[in-house]
Symmetry: C2
Subunit: 252 residues, 2 copies
Amino acid sequence: MSETATTYNPSRYERPSVTVDVVIFTLRNRELHLLLVKRSRWPFEGFWALPGGFIEMHEDLDDAARRELEEETGVRDVYLEQLYTFGEPKRDPRTRVISIAYMALIRADVHQLRVSEESTDVRWFPVRELPQPLAFDHDQITAYALLRLRSKLEYTTLAFQLLPEVFSILELKDTYEQILGEQLDKGNFYRKIKEADVLEETNLTREGRGRPTRLWRFKPERGDKQFVFRWREDRSDDRDSATLLTPTRKEN
Amino acid sequence: MSETATTYNPSRYERPSVTVDVVIFTLRNRELHLLLVKRSRWPFEGFWALPGGFIEMHEDLDDAARRELEEETGVRDVYLEQLYTFGEPKRDPRTRVISIAYMALIRADVHQLRVSEESTDVRWFPVRELPQPLAFDHDQITAYALLRLRSKLEYTTLAFQLLPEVFSILELKDTYEQILGEQLDKGNFYRKIKEADVLEETNLTREGRGRPTRLWRFKPERGDKQFVFRWREDRSDDRDSATLLTPTRKEN
DNA sequence: ATACTTAGTGTATAAAGTACACTATATACC
DNA sequence: GGTATATAGTGTACTTTATACACTAAGTAT
């Protein structure tokens, strides 16, 4: 920041509260879910809301999101990404609250979640059946998170963050289908995922009726920064924006 | 936001300051520039910084960015987009300051800028020759803004926001080349831009030595939300994330 | 008339995306 | 052992998009 002409004097400024809200996604029996918390008091008493809370004074934004995530789910070390900052002056009727929205992806099968099935005030909801409306502007935030997740699925390896450590290629394909909401071709999917070279073979299988399912692991190299469905070399590993096609390229 | 278990009590919380910083891009003689302000006091006295300032208590985030933009340049009604929120606890040595970064695109030729050429403390810098380092974490913010601009150029009509109201197709191509940093093929560019159907003919020309230059105007329909270099129909008009290719699609 | 500049069109080739049929392999079950 | 069944692929033809580059067309200045 850089206030331009005014003298710096913190006490002159009435300050907004700053919070983080986290959209926590996971797969539960092959369907995408997100975590909501039931509000127990005004405002929006009885409404479902995203988990979130105030940023502490000496805490990084990402750390605040991680802390909220852990408080709510008991889970650490998951994929976390800042989405957008929502600051409409009247979004919270109590006072001015600016909220920095995050998205987290967790592997339901690996991290055992603290969220109990019976809890009535903290629950996983399938994204296709969210209670409506949510508290505050959380409908907007969840819609945005879903959009971002769908987009990034197509040019990053985000999908792996939702799967258990080992998985089959058809499970991966199924994950893509669930989130993108469309059917993918099996043969083409095999080719693409193999060509992308992001899978590491395991010697594990899962046996059942037919041919045993081969299980794979996500190649951990390059810090989860490999891309799957696009080959353009010059894509920058920015925080969120996608580099797409370059129009009518010609060598200089 | 939704603090989960704690009682809401604003006075309990020490609050960070919240500012907006704006990366203002424009084209000046065919080169991409951005606006910087020289700091006159501690911290980073004498360093160049992005224009920015505190968010007022009852002001929307976008409005704060717009206000800073207008204070610095005298320009209104330009393209404005939120980028990312930077909140590392020590980014400002004075106190905890969370900054919401914005990007603005302005047409140097249209809006007459208040920024005088002679001013020593407010200046346009070519993006390839920025002073280094900038104050605070502004190097990081400008790098991110450039990344976002380059990305979005390829799947949105953002480039038009940098051009004057009427322009030739070769000027448009030149803008793309400047920002993307690569040469594009003239013939293919003509075809693509025509096919995208985002240009409206004017009866204006600009005469010179050879055949007069035909001038065009950006089709204002659909609220600047048309896309140029990609044809996928299902791209959602979100705030920033890009929908790219869908892997191996098949009709359901 | 010629040079010069913008404004295009034509076309061959390469690369990527898509649909769909087909083969291969390892297990369970009878 | 044979058959059903599920995963795990391969083959291929076709379409769409991308790219390079040569070429034509048109209007103005000299």
